[in-house]
């Protein structure tokens, strides 16, 4: 079961996505957008973000450089 969301994509980005689909790298633009969002969420994991910022605070307070 999927939710439906309406998004605006800049024309140049849309053209690139359509190229991928046309060349057979993906089934459709929808699949590509979902994959892009999944990758974003993987690399921008909230726990990871907090961990980076805590590392920064530790460096800021106690670092040597």
């Amino acid at each position: 079961m999927s939710e439906t969301a309406q998004i605006s994509i800049p024309p140049r980005l849309m053209a690139e996505l359509e190229d991928y689909v046309r060349e057979g790298w993906a089934r459709d633009v929808n699949t590509l957008v979902v994959e892009a969002v999944r990758r974003f969420l993987e690399s921008h994991h909230k726990a990871l973000a907090q961990s980076f910022i805590r590392d920064d605070v530790e460096w800021g307070l106690h670092g040597q450089d």
Partner: protein, 183 residues
């Protein structure tokens, strides 16, 4: 030691060679903290970052940074296959890619970014990497800001900056600075 405004600035614990992404430049500018980059022995921006800053209408940032040993690096001179491969995997923007390629060609640089994917890539490449928050907290340690001033800057982030950070985490950082300053 050199005198800068109201603060005695220690110059014996510099940042070394600093490569900076677009995000921290904008965030530090919004917070009135671009002077924190003055601790870099050499501040390097790849052309894509310089172009992005100009495109966004913040050329005054570049003019200010000229006082901080700013050097613009031509990205053509710093292509690195491993960086490129990781950048593809993490779908990094051009500016971030060029920063990482540049870092890979420098002796022990520090990379400043607020993008988590870029930071992950930098860690995978074994680079020293920090963000805007780290630089603000560091400013207290090196005497560029008092703890009170740093707390004010951090408190203003949600209203004055395009840097997004969870409120509870921001409060936690503020408490840490306050506790540290009482020690």
């Amino acid at each position: 030691m050199t005198w800068s405004g109201d603060f005695m600035v220690k110059t014996d614990a510099g940042l070394g060679i600093l490569v900076c992404d677009t995000g921290p430049l904008l965030h530090l500018h919004e917070m009135g903290c671009l002077d924190l980059l003055d601790d870099a022995d050499l501040l390097m921006l790849p052309t894509a970052v310089r172009d992005e800053i100009v495109f966004l209408g913040f050329s005054e940032i570049l003019r200010r940074l000229e006082r901080a040993n700013l050097q613009i690096a031509e990205s053509k001179a710093s292509i690195n296959n491993r960086c490129e491969a990781l950048s593809e995997i993490f779908a990094l923007h051009q500016g971030e890619r060029e920063c990482l390629s540049l870092c890979a060609n420098l002796p022990n640089p520090m990379f400043l970014t607020d993008d988590f994917a870029a930071r992950l890539t930098a860690i995978a490449l074994g680079l020293r990497v920090h963000g805007t928050i780290g630089l603000i907290v560091r400013a207290v340690r090196v005497g560029r800001r008092t703890a009170e001033q740093a707390v004010t800057i951090l408190r203003d982030i949600p209203d004055k900056s395009s840097l997004f950070i969870k409120r509870s985490l921001l409060n936690e950082i503020i408490q840490q600075i306050q506790m540290h300053s009482r020690e």
